[in-house]
């Protein structure tokens, strides 16, 4: 993991001291709310429905046990004993007092964390594949590049007041687990014909009220040019992006307006002027960052691991968990574990302070001290020895963290919705809870198979409803919460926006509607077919017909 140097530490201390002074001046009446609001937002502090909300960055979703433990301490000491992990690999605290915030920021700085650029029209927390560095299918560890981008973008003077917020995601694997095509800039690590690694650069993706799948403007960018090319894109957007209309200010609108070819031309032209500038990444600089992400001291373990296989044969519940929650590790004898934060009837992404403490302990004992946050709102322990998995799974169970549902219908992505968010039109979490209770039977979930079901409480789409195989969008219909359903959304390398099936449903009919969609799928699927493949094969009509048969 990246370790802060003296400059980094001093910078955070100075920043917290500055905000402490700003808070004191606000409470003393020396700053009005209009003056204070931009200052608090620069430190990730929102005012939501019930209280202040603090959004903390987890850069590229990577954190160590000490950091996870501290997140739990903050939840216990300054919040209501839990935190909410988000689709941007952040954690949000929902019940924060204003005058506690400087102390919280100090506590975060103690473990090399902060809330800078988790709000505002700047480059937000860079997100990445949660399996970066350990995935067996990886071309290269994308954390190195995410860290380089983090350092470049943090307080970048030219990009502090962009037309709108700006989101970058990166994946180092062929299979995209970071939804890179749904970001302002998406980066995919690729190999060229000479075997060199570089980046495919995608721009103009995003969700919200105008969902667009990003397009490639460069098939292969040599690594040393990453920052100069990003700078060229940002500079083009900063100059031409609309500032007169909030809803048309994202880069996706600019790209759609000028066309992808023209936009690419403008970027290339800008890039020519700066490609060999100080932004060029020298090999020594790259190596310096790579050293922070050197593989840990793995043991040499021969496969197959007999005790692991034996436990799978003798313990069906464990076996079910290994089928859904494990991912192949590049190091023999190890597995990547996704810990579900989606218990039946639970709040997607919520973890109590006790669970965060437990995850920190488990990471230290079983995962070489490291954890990740997935954009699907789960926690990953990336380095667990297969011989430890059975015991590890038992221990997870004692903390309510052993649900075997990753990638299944109850692994729901949900935004906070109207229960917490000022922007929401409808609740999202209670709908997620009802659906997850309805489909709680493990056998039923296994029979349905891999599927994504995402819920947003408003058109801003923080719950990624556009790219759920089933998407649910909360809308306000004459003062009553209603829910619009889409199917066919995909968030990976084949990214697609879901299609609306028809009129929306009131809250009490949503579970039945989802049940009807699933029943339709089970009836018309071919042997072993996944939900999304059935939708691709038959289109939305059969689903639409059964869904609205009685309406």
């Amino acid at each position: 993991m990246y370790q802060y140097n003296e400059f980094d530490h001093a910078f955070l201390r100075d920043r917290t001291a500055e905000f402490r002074d700003q808070v004191a001046r606000r409470l003393a009446g020396e700053l009005t709310e209009d003056e204070f609001k931009p200052l608090r937002l620069m430190n990730g502090l929102y005012l939501q429905l019930h209280a202040y909300m603090l959004r903390v960055a987890i850069p590229y979703g990577t954190l160590n046990a000490k950091q996870m433990r501290q997140l739990g301490v903050i939840a216990k000491r300054w919040d209501r004993d839990w935190g909410h992990f988000t689709t941007r690999q952040n954690i949000q605290y929902n019940w924060i007092k204003l005058d506690d915030v400087p102390d919280i920021l100090d506590a975060l700085a103690d473990v090399e964390m902060h809330a800078i650029q988790t709000s505002g029209n700047c480059i937000r927390n860079v997100t990445a594949d949660q399996f970066a560095g350990v995935a067996a299918d990886e071309i290269e560890d994308s954390r190195v590049w995410a860290e380089i981008m983090r350092q470049w973008s943090t307080l970048h003077p030219e990009f502090t007041f962009l037309p709108r917020k700006f989101k970058i995601a990166i994946t180092g694997s062929e299979h995209d687990r970071a939804a890179v095509k749904l970001h302002d800039i998406g980066l995919r690590m690729r190999r060229n014909e000479d075997g060199e690694t570089g980046f495919e650069v995608i721009v103009g993706g995003g969700q919200g009220r105008t969902p667009i799948v990003g397009e490639t403007i460069r098939e292969f960018l040599p690594k040393q040019h990453l920052l100069s090319y990003l700078e060229a894109i940002l500079r083009t957007y900063n100059l031409l992006g609309r500032r007169d209309n909030l809803y048309k200010a994202r880069i996706k609108i600019l790209v759609a307006a000028v066309g992808i070819e023209k936009f690419a031309e403008m970027v290339e032209e800008e890039w020519e002027a700066i490609r060999d500038s100080v932004l060029t990444l020298e090999p020594e600089r790259i190596r310096e960052i790579e050293r922070h992400f050197a593989p840990p001291a793995y043991e040499e373990i021969a496969e197959p691991v007999v005790s692991f296989d034996a436990a799978r044969f003798t313990d069906p519940a464990f076996s079910a968990w290994t089928r859904t929650n494990l991912f192949p590790h590049k190091q023999p004898g190890y597995a990547v574990v996704t810990v579900s934060l989606k218990p039946a009837g639970g709040v997607p992404g919520d973890a109590t302070s006790a669970q965060m403490e437990a995850l920190a302990d488990l990471a230290e004992r079983y995962s070489l001290g490291e954890l990740r946050i997935a954009h699907e709102q789960n926690v990953v322990l990336p380095n667990v020895r297969k011989q430890d998995l059975h015991r590890f799974w038992h221990e997870l169970g004692t903390h309510g963290l052993a649900d075997a549902n990753v990638g299944l219908i109850t692994d729901i992505i949900s935004c906070p919705g109207l229960d917490y968010c000022n922007l929401a039109n409808a609740r999202a979490i209670p709908i997620a809870q009802r659906i997850s209770r309805h489909f709680a039977d493990p056998a039923l979930q296994a029979e349905i198979g891999p599927i994504t079901l995402n819920i947003s409480g408003c058109i801003n789409a923080c719950g990624h409803h556009h790219v759920g195989n089933i998407g649910i969008l909360g809308v306000d219909k004459k003062g009553v919460e209603h829910y619009q359903i889409t199917i066919g959304g995909i968030a990976d390398e084949n990214a697609a926006i879901g299609r609306i099936l028809g009129p929306s449903f009131p809250a009490e009919e949503v579970v039945d509607a989802i049940d009807t969609l699933i029943a339709t799928f089970r009836k018309i699927r071919e042997q072993g077919e996944f939900f999304i493949d059935t939708v691709k094969r038959v289109g939305i009509e059969p689903f639409k017909e059964t869904l609205y048969a009685n309406h």
Binding site: R26, G29, A51, L418, R427
Partner: protein, 103 residues
Amino acid sequence: MKKKFEKQIMTANRLGDGAVVYLAADDDWVLSLHDAEVAESEEAAIRLEERAGLAMKQQKIVGPYLFAVAVSDRGISPISQREIIRAAGPTVGTDLPETTPLR
């Protein structure tokens, strides 16, 4: 035709902790909307706004606004779902019963 005036109360978030508060008599900002002062006319609503403006200057509250309510024998009820949730708290969460119903 002039739209019929809906009864309104004044709400805001308390500056220090962000808690939802309502303007009551004597310029008190209270946690329960049942204790809020109800404006029954446009003139009364304007007076609530003036008092809220003063409270903002005194660093008591942030983001004040009026919202429509119904008043009955059982007390004051918000009309919008958003204000119902603001008044009663989230309908979900780890500190709430699993069975908290949807309204």
